[in-house]
């Protein structure tokens, strides 16, 4: 396997020394110190580790770091721009769509991914899309509300 030397995360280039087959989640968290992406299961079943790779939401625990080479990676830390929250972050905050909030980064990243391809999701679309994200605290109804609200705001502001 080719040696992985660099990753582009949140618009910044990071040198990488971890072996290239290391799941991206561990490189992000342990090597780059970007701990906003969470470990919840390590088997692609909970969505807590979701990041955008080349714009698409991916479970970073299932992606070898090498597969992200040369593609822009966006994590929860990269959503806020100039001190302004991404509309999805803002909507989660406004809706109080968290309890322990351990699932929140993954929920937000998945939702950002959804809204990129489907700017006007129905409730059923959201449920379908977030089916792979676990919230053990049972905050689901507020999360759905937050995504609807974010979609509305983003449509209105053309983002």
């Amino acid at each position: 396997m080719a040696k992985l030397t660099e990753l582009e995360v949140n618009g910044k280039r990071y040198p990488v020394n971890y072996p290239p087959d290391t799941p991206l989640l561990y490189v992000l968290r342990d090597e780059l110190g970007l701990t906003g992406s969470k470990y919840g299961c390590g088997e692609g079943q909970c969505g807590a580790c979701t990041v955008l790779i080349g714009g698409a939401p991916r479970r970073s625990c299932q992606v070898p770091a090498s597969a992200a080479a040369g593609k822009p990676v966006v994590t929860i830390e990269g959503l806020e721009k100039d001190g302004r929250l991404h509309p999805v972050q803002q909507a989660f905050l406004d809706a109080g769509a968290f309890q322990c909030a351990y699932c929140t980064s993954g929920m937000i990243m998945s939702s950002v991914g959804l809204l990129q391809t489907n700017p006007s999701p129905s409730q059923a679309d959201i449920v379908q899309f977030l089916q792979g994200n676990v919230c053990r605290c049972g905050t689901h109804p507020r999360i759905i509300d937050a995504v609807c609200q974010a979609a509305k705001i983003m449509r209105e502001h053309g983002r």
Binding site: Y18, P19, T22, Y26, R29, D30, G33, L34, T35, G36, S37, K38, Y39, G40, C41, G42, E43, Q45, C46, A48, T75, I76, E77, L79, E80, L85, Q89, Q90, F92, L93, G96, F98, Q99, C100, A101, Y102, C103, T104, S105, I108, I126, V127, Q128, L130, Q131, G132, N133, V134, C135, R136, C137, G138, T139, H140, P141, R142, I144
Partner: protein
């Protein structure tokens, strides 16, 4: 044949443990002001400490000097007017950080934003038994109110002194003390400046009744919400102190297995990697998690396993091994069951069961441990930091003062994070490595080596008169626990008994613990009795209920659902259940849809009325109530731990099903605010009536009584 060889005992009601007076007051007054700066502080003196007598505070008197060492701080008002509250409680997603800050702001009369909470740090916060059993709201909010009231007294007194007037006429409001007579005022910040005033907590202090709350009672959003939506908040799993290594533990192949031989493959010895064997404990610490795992993979270990029973034999085992002679405290009797049954117009007996289930908090058990000069600091997501500290101190033979446990706001627990396992492992590895070590359990470890909500068998014998009045009620719970075991219904002849059974799987607290099992059995049985009596489920319950708070939640839930509802679709069904526990009341209505062809069961709607006295934060409360309803749905329908030969067979999210978006029905939570009743906790009770409400709805839809939790792990099998 205990899977853990009798070392552990089931803790039937951990939340009955009270804050015993094991006083650990580290921070002397002088150190305290050194850390937080000058200002005004309130301390609590150990009730039974000898020092307390000497300084027993005359109400509204100052104790500037010579406070006893045995003090612990609860509140500080700084020179800039910032307020710091101290509590040993932990934030685990129940939003208590916000609620407690609200409480202090309300009673001290300061803006909410000026209050910061220091929580669950054994070196900084007063002793606390733990965050469980829905105890925080009923005990900690009045405690912090008394503390804040005492601080307010000091501030008023200081202003009075300044102006040379009597304190009685002065008014504290908006972070100021005002003299209405002259119109002059002084800010708290000004009053605190240059002072190190402290007061011991008076035994009693009049606190503001709920009806006069201004900041408490409001839907204030979670503090630090922004840190959570940006990923900035650091959970235990996210901490990375300089030089930290990653720890991994070699797990036995099955419960109760002991290590018989251990060999390290020397050729594989890696630089910077530490492998530790200590008794049956084998672990590794390395610069990366992967290297730690590789180090363990290179270990040759042999284990001696012990025979275990599987979940298939479980219920028979419970019945055979249940203590025939129960402890007095687990046995209640009134009237004569025999007479009650003899006089019954109808009798109904039934057996119910509940499976072991897992908490599966999304943040797994984790700890970071660091040794400095023989002292140990551990960051860990636990509900019991002080108990963890004591366990660590005992295990490493240290005085308690040499161990500090800090709980970062945690990725939930639901009763599952009482023990110090991960903390112990990280500390052991860190001591060997001489560097900080982080241990984060994998999901599989979490599902296997944590503890479970105990399974149980419940037997009920009952009788009713021809008018539907209960004449006899006999209730036996084997193993799952005594919480919520007593019937809230009026019945002259009753017996309830909890039979302890030797432990099979390691078990402990779980949101509501046995109250869920006991309510499931009782409320399913009550529904079956209603059918026997040919009465409407609500009328039948009302007939047998005197408790007005219970009647009120039943009425509210029924009204919200529009009970009794006409069925408009094939397979539709409605059910209701209610209960009370730990000072709060719940009634849940469920609408289900059963597909007779496929056996698929869908919960279409859940409506819940909940009452826990005066509501401190309706927004946080709603989150808790809805969350409990969704979590309860998992245990009701499909969650179950399967095990065989001392191994968990479904230790993953791919094999242990938890509620997901598609499972979530339309949800309505009706919160009844009783300002005339002291606030009770809300973490647990809202889960209790979910399963029986759903079960009763399934009966309504399909005519089948499901007496075992989970009810439909593989869909409904219709005969």
């Amino acid at each position: 044949m205990n899977n853990v060889e009798g070392k552990l005992f089931i803790e039937p009601e951990r939340y009955e443990f009270t804050a015993a007076s094991i006083h650990q007051f580290e921070l002397a007054r002088r150190d305290f002001f050194k850390i937080l700066g000058a200002g005004i502080a309130v301390f609590a003196v150990a009730k039974d400490a000898p020092a307390a007598q000497e300084t027993a505070p005359g109400h509204r008197s100052f104790h500037n000097e010579d406070l006893p060492k045995d003090i612990s701080a609860w509140l500080h008002v700084g020179e800039d007017g910032s307020v710091t509250g101290f509590t040993g409680k932990a934030e685990i997603g129940q939003n208590i950080r916000t609620e407690l800050a609200q409480t202090i702001a309300d009673e001290l009369r300061v803006p909410f934003e000026s209050v910061r909470m220091v929580m669950s740090d054994t070196a900084l916060t007063p002793f606390d038994a733990g965050t469980f059993g829905s105890r925080t709201t009923p005990t900690m909010t009045p405690q912090l109110r008394r503390v804040a009231a005492a601080a307010r007294d000091i501030l008023v007194e200081a202003a009075a002194k300044e102006w040379n007037v009597a304190p009685t006429g002065l008014v504290a409001a908006n972070a100021k003390v005002t003299d209405p007579a002259s119109g002059r005022s002084l800010k708290y910040a000004e009053l605190a400046r240059g002072k190190t005033l402290a007061q011991n907590l008076p035994a009693e202090d009049p606190i503001t009744p709920a009806i006069d709350w201004t900041i408490a009672g409001k839907a204030i959003p979670k503090v630090d919400g922004r840190a959570f939506v940006t990923g900035r908040h650091q959970y235990t799993t996210d901490l990375q102190p300089a030089g930290m290594l990653y720890g991994k533990v070699l797990r036995p192949p099955s419960f109760g297995a002991t290590l018989t031989s251990f060999r390290q493959n020397e050729t594989k010895a890696m630089p910077g990697v530490f492998v530790v064997r200590d008794g049956d404990f084998v672990g590794a610490a390395a610069p990366t998690e992967r290297e730690a795992q590789e180090a363990l993979d290179a270990v040759k270990a042999e284990w001696k396993e012990v025979t275990q029973i599987s979940n298939k034999e479980l219920f028979a085992y419970f019945k055979q091994n249940g203590a025939a002679k129960t402890e007095d405290r687990f046995r209640k009797q009134k009237g004569s069951i025999e007479e009650g049954l003899a006089n019954a117009a109808h009798r109904l007996d039934a057996t119910y069961s509940v499976a072991y289930i897992a908490h599966a908090p999304l943040e797994p058990r984790a700890a970071v441990a660091q040794w400095t000069d023989g002292k140990l600091t551990v960051w860990t997501g636990t509900q019991r930091p002080f108990a963890n500290r004591d366990e660590l101190a005992a295990a490493f033979r240290l005085p308690e003062s040499s161990v500090r446990v800090i709980v970062p706001d945690t990725g939930s627990a639901y009763g599952g994070k009482h023990t110090s396992d991960a903390a112990m492992e990280a500390a052991r590895l860190a001591r060997a490595a001489g560097r900080p070590v982080k241990v984060v359990w994998t999901r599989e470890e979490e599902f296997t080596w944590a503890y479970f909500r105990p399974a149980g068998v419940i037997e009920i014998k009952s009788g009713i008169a021809s008018d539907g009045a209960l004449t006899a009620w006999e209730f036996h719970n084997y193993h799952s626990g005594a919480s919520g075991i007593e019937t809230p219904y009026v019945v002259a002849n009753q017996r309830t008994e909890y039979h302890q059974v030797p432990l099979i799987l390691r078990s402990g607290s779980y949101r509501g613990l046995a109250a869920t099992a006991n309510h499931f059995a009782r409320e399913t049985h009550m529904d079956a009795l209603a059918s026997t009596a040919k009465m409407n489920s609500i009328d039948f319950r009302m007939k047998n209920l005197a408790d007005t708070r219970m009647r009120a939640v039943l009425e509210a839930a029924a009204k919200s659902l529009g009970w009794p509802r006409k069925k408009t679709r094939e397979g539709q069904g409605f059910g209701i259940a209610c209960g009370a526990e730990k000072g709060s009341y719940v009634a849940t209505c469920a609408e289900v849809s059963v597909d007779r062809g496929s056996g698929a069961v869908r919960v279409v709607k859940l409506v819940e009325a909940f009452e826990c006295g005066a509501i401190v934060n309706p927004d946080g409360l709603r989150n808790q109530v809805v969350g409990a309803m969704i979590q309860g749905l998992g245990g009701a329908l499909f969650e179950a731990i399967e095990f065989e030969n001392g191994r968990i067979k479904n230790p993953r999210f791919s094999s242990y099903r938890v509620p997901r978006f598609r499972d979530v029905p339309e949800i309505e939570a009706v919160l009844l605010d009783r300002k005339d009743i002291p606030s009770a906790g809300a973490g647990e009770t809202p889960i209790m009536a979910v399963a029986p409400a759903i079960g009763n709805a399934i009966f309504d839809a399909a005519g089948v009584r499901l007496n075992n939790l989970p009810m439909v792990p593989n869909g409904l099998r219709l005969a």
